[in-house]
Amino acid sequence: AQSVTQPDIHITVSEGASLELRCNYSYGATPYLFWYVQSPGQGLQLLLKYFSGDTLVQGIKGFEAEFKRSQSSFNLRKPSVHWSDAAEYFCAAGDGGYQKVTFGIGTKLQVIP
């Protein structure tokens, strides 16, 4: 069965520190991969996507993610976290077609001064 795993439910980082959020997927073929961010009480906003090509993907708000086929991973990174990055982050994978995707359960990021 297709699945997306985000092993960290909560992560706390200091403002200015680097960030890496983990995501692993289980799919029959290379899926389409996404990272979304959700601020409290809001819907999901797309940070970045990977369909094919360059395995290092740049997104909005200074985020990037790297696709590693050998590890079935698509980890999200940011070199220096800002307090406004505190939110919940969702990794998702889809197989094209009608763009039906599977979401991970999310990682809640807390940023401390």
Binding site: G41, Q42, G43, F90, Q99, K100
Partner: protein, 110 residues
């Protein structure tokens, strides 16, 4: 920019009521989706639609139905609301790319 609008941000209903959640997108997207979001469970797909009058069950369709009479509008219907349907409901749309989400409806069933 894609705009996905959900008719209510907050809604309170009583058990047994028939509840309608409305979603409208303004980008002529073919695909539309309804999810519910619960703490610790992430987003779970209830129903999706890839064309007018077409619908497909997602992972948790029980207790729900949908309607898509026009391309831009996708309605989620709770036929007889129950307390275990208290949740955040998210609508999304897509064409041939990532899904775009509305701001969600927080539904409480009393």
């Amino acid at each position: 920019d894609v705009k996905v609008t959900q008719s209510s941000r907050y809604l309170v209903k009583r058990t047994g009521e028939k509840v309608f959640l409305e979603c409208v997108q303004d980008m002529d997207h073919e695909n539309m989706f309804w999810y519910r979001q619960d703490p610790g469970l992430g987003l779970r797909l209830i129903y999706f639609s890839y064309d007018v009058k077409m619908k497909e069950k997602g992972d948790i369709p029980e207790g729900y139905s949908v309607s898509r009479e026009k391309k831009e509008r996708f309605s989620l219907i709770l036929e007889s609301a129950s307390t275990n349907q208290t949740s955040m409901y998210l609508c999304a749309s897509s064409l041939r790319g990532p899904q775009h989400f509305g701001d969600g409806t927080r539904l409480s069933i009393l």
